[in-house]
């Protein structure tokens, strides 16, 4: 499907107001790109990345997943939390960590796809069988933060949640 060759090249005609608009659009999108770049690389906003592949059918045969829960790395400062998403609950369903500590969450699923979102934080990711999702958060205020399943996982999806308690 090719159009005919014309002897003279026809220039692209763009109305002056439209030219101004195109410039504006490029600037606006450029600003957004800069904002996302700054957020991603300078403000330390993290999204999950490849962590580790696992077998959802055998993962709970060995540590750390055979006994999910909180692991203290440095008392009061650094903790790892392992959570397994299952239909229709999290194991464990409650977690306690100190305020101000750096808490890394490792989450996987042993059945279907689930979500994992801790309310009022930037922790929000998928829990996919065969993969481990990992993100780090610091709870700066004491209180209870629900973690909610945000992906349809079956009939009991609406009741699937747990909670983190940040203690002073």
């Amino acid at each position: 499907m090719s159009a005919p060759e014309t002897k003279e090249k026809i220039p692209l005609h763009v109305d002056p107001t439209e030219k101004a608009w195109i410039r504006t659009a490029i600037v606006v999108l450029g600003v957004f790109i800069v904002a996302v770049t700054v957020a991603g690389f300078m403000l330390g906003i993290q999204v999950p990345t490849n962590e580790q592949r696992v077998n959802p059918q055998t993962i709970q045969d060995a540590p750390p997943w055979s006994e999910p829960g909180v692991r203290e790395i440095v008392a009061g400062e650094k903790y790892d939390v392992y959570i397994v998403a299952k239909r229709f609950f999290y194991e464990p369903s409650t977690v306690e960590v100190p305020v101000g500590a750096e808490v890394t969450f490792y989450v996987t699923s042993t059945d279907v796809q689930h979500g994992f979102k801790i309310e009022h934080t930037n922790i929000n990711f998928m829990a996919i069988p065969g993969e481990v999702s990992k993100l780090t958060a610091t709870f700066t205020e004491a209180g209870t933060y629900d973690y909610i399943c945000t992906e349809y996982c079956g009939l009991g999806h609406a009741v699937m949640f747990g909670s983190v308690t940040a203690t002073p």
């Binding site: 499907m1 090719s2 159009a3 005919p4 090249k9 026809i10 692209l12 005609h13 763009v14 109305d15 439209e18 608009w21 195109i22 659009a25 490029i26 606006v28 999108l29 957004f32 790109i33 996302v36 770049t37 957020a39 991603g40 906003i45 999204v47 999950p48 990345t49 490849n50 592949r53 077998n55 959802p56 059918q57 239909r87 279907v112 796809q113 979500g115 979102k117 009022h120 930037n122 929000n124 990711f125 998928m126 996919i128 069988p129 065969g130 993969e131 481990v132 999702s133 629900d146 909610i148 399943c149 945000t150 992906e151 349809y152 079956g154 009939l155 999806h157 609406a158 009741v159 949640f161």
Partner: protein
């Protein structure tokens, strides 16, 4: 108030062609009617009102609707996949024939494609209605549906490809006969959309044929859920453009004519569509920002590419508004914004599309937030997301299709529009409901409400969500009233006894361009460079990751019924 009629049509479709387009619209509107039934029930559920048992009389043979999710799956599949695909292929058929002023070269191919889609729809409907495929329209493995559901989807997709081939062959032979002429803009636009769709659906086809069917047949021990998601979202985002581009084609190339104006810039309209072809596909990872199995670097690249595809939408905003302003000023409109009042707001077809455009402004802005790698952490899988896509597929596309129907159905049936005032009111009511509904969905999503959840049953709902959930129910119910008025108007138009007066024909609105299309540069009417660019960009943006994920495939997940 009736859509423009003429004594001497520029080109009249044959009776058989009109009937063929009519079959598309019949299936589309029927799917929309059934699929939308669940919308207000879901919305009311969020406010704690359970009206599902009221549906039992309709589905009595099926033992009622068994779950919220059976309804939600029907809602998603019938509205987002069936209503759109059938309407779009029907509309494309009409535009290609009228735009090129010639019949399809291989009408049998198009017929086969269409009936393949119908067989696919029926095949998928059996398990859907029997609650054997309540897996939602994303059907993420390892949740497993009845095999017929997947086979039905494949048939719908392959059927739409087959119709696409019929359009390409028709355009091909037209171009051979008209080497010196630019392809009419509207035809180029709708055919680009079909080509984009054909490339994009390779993802879902690979997912179903390569991963899901071998797994449901028991040939593989399990499935790789992460890889399935990657294939799904290869198709999932361009799917949005497949819905939108026919509406854009109408806004650019038809709406100005209906408003009494012209297409503002033929060249830039074409440029926007070529950019949609090139940029719609290589950005699917922005739906997978929080997937553990996709490296964050690729997520970032796709985030930037998504901003790229916003550029042709910015072009669209300018060109469409400029065309409308030109029309309004010709009608005596004055002032910086005062001209807006001079648009033909009494024309139901025009009004529906203008309101669709207004809602899409909000949809577009929200979409840029979704595409932002960082902001998405707050929004992912919250009710913000359905709030957003009800502004795109259920407003920009659906409300535009309402508007298109208001001239298309009179055209193919040869009958006047039934109760034009109802038609006009339907769009305003739907629009008002959508404003309330989508605003509430966005807000409660920001507060943390998950999507796809019967929140009326959820134990964790805080009191601060309740007011917004009430607005979800209110807006959703109002939308349903508007939608049923549309269905009523279209059905009565098609099946009434009254016909158009002898010798009168509905005019298919095709806008002239302000500048002679022959002055559009040749490179904006050539397929090869743009197809090459599309392929190259897909290979660059997807190739390395697809290679890694396929090489590292681990089929370890057995199936689970919902």
């Amino acid at each position: 108030m009736l859509t423009n009629t003429t004594k001497t049509p520029v080109y009249e479709l044959t009776k058989a062609d009109k009937r063929f387009v009519g079959w598309h619209i019949l299936f589309a509107v029927s799917a929309l009617t059934i699929g939308s039934l669940f919308g207000p029930l879901q919305a009311l559920e969020h406010a704690g009102v359970n009206w599902y048992p009221k549906l039992d009389f309709l589905f009595i043979k099926l033992d009622g609707i068994n779950s919220y999710y059976q309804g939600l799956t029907l809602h998603g599949v019938l509205n987002a996949l069936i209503w759109t695909t059938f309407f779009i292929t029907g509309f494309t058929t009409l535009v290609v024939i009228r735009g090129l002023k010639r019949p399809l070269t291989h009408p049998l191919l198009n017929k086969i494609g269409f009936w393949m889609m119908v067989v696919g729809l029926v095949t998928a409907a059996v398990p859907l209605l029997g609650n054997k495929a309540s897996v939602l329209y994303t059907f993420y493995p390892p949740m497993e549906a009845d095999t017929l559901f997947y086979i039905g989807l494949v048939l719908v997709v392959v059927g739409s490809w087959t119709e696409g081939w019929g359009f390409y062959l028709t355009l091909w032979s037209w171009r051979k006969e008209n080497r010196e002429t630019r392809t009419p803009f509207v035809v180029l636009a709708v055919v680009i959309n079909m080509v984009m769709w054909q490339i994009a659906t390779l993802g879902i086809a690979t997912e179903i044929l390569g991963l899901i069917l071998p797994w449901t047949f028991g040939w593989t021990g399990g499935i790789d859920p992460q890889l399935s998601r990657t294939f799904f979202w290869f198709t999932g985002h361009p799917l949005v453009y497949f819905w939108l581009l026919p509406a854009y084609a109408s806004w650019y190339g038809m709406l100005p004519k209906q408003a009494g104006g012209k297409l503002f810039s033929d060249s830039l309209a074409r440029l926007a569509f070529w950019l949609f072809l090139v940029l719609s596909i290589p950005l699917g990872f922005h739906h997978q920002f929080v997937d553990p199995g996709v490296p964050s670097g690729w997520k970032f690249i796709h985030s930037i590419l998504t901003f790229g595809v916003a550029f042709p939408s910015f072009l669209t905003l300018f060109t469409v508004v400029a065309g409308l302003e030109y029309a309004a000023r010709k009608r005596g409109g004055k002032g910086l914004f005062g001209w807006i009042r001079a648009l033909p707001w009494k024309d139901a077809s025009v009004t529906a599309q203008l309101l669709a455009g207004i809602l899409f402004l909000f949809g577009g802005i929200g979409g840029i937030a979704n595409a932002s790698y960082s902001l998405n952490l707050v929004l992912h899988n919250t009710s913000w997301v359905p709030g957003h896509f009800h502004l795109t597929v259920a407003s920009a596309a659906t409300l535009s299709f309402f508007g298109i129907s208001y001239w298309l159905v009179p055209y193919i049936s040869g009958k006047p529009l039934w109760k034009p005032k109802w038609a006009l009111a339907s769009s305003w009511i739907y629009f008002s409901g959508m404003l309330v509904f989508s605003n509430a969905m966005h807000t409660v999503g920001l507060l943390g409400a998950p999507r796809r959840t019967p929140l009326g049953l959820a134990p964790y709902v805080p009191a601060e969500w309740n007011g917004h959930l009430f607005r979800v129910a209110l807006g959703g119910s109002i939308m349903y009233i508007g939608l049923m008025m549309y269905v009523t108007v279209v059905a009565f138009t098609a099946f009434q006894r009254k016909r158009l007066p002898q010798g009168e024909h509905v005019e298919i609105p095709i806008a002239e361009s302000m500048q002679d299309p022959q002055l559009t540069p040749v490179w904006l009417d050539r397929w090869k460079p743009w197809l090459i660019a599309t392929a190259v960009l897909i290979i660059l943006a997807y190739g390395p990751q697809l290679f890694d994920q396929i090489a590292g495939i681990e089929s370890t997940s057995p199936g689970f019924t919902p």
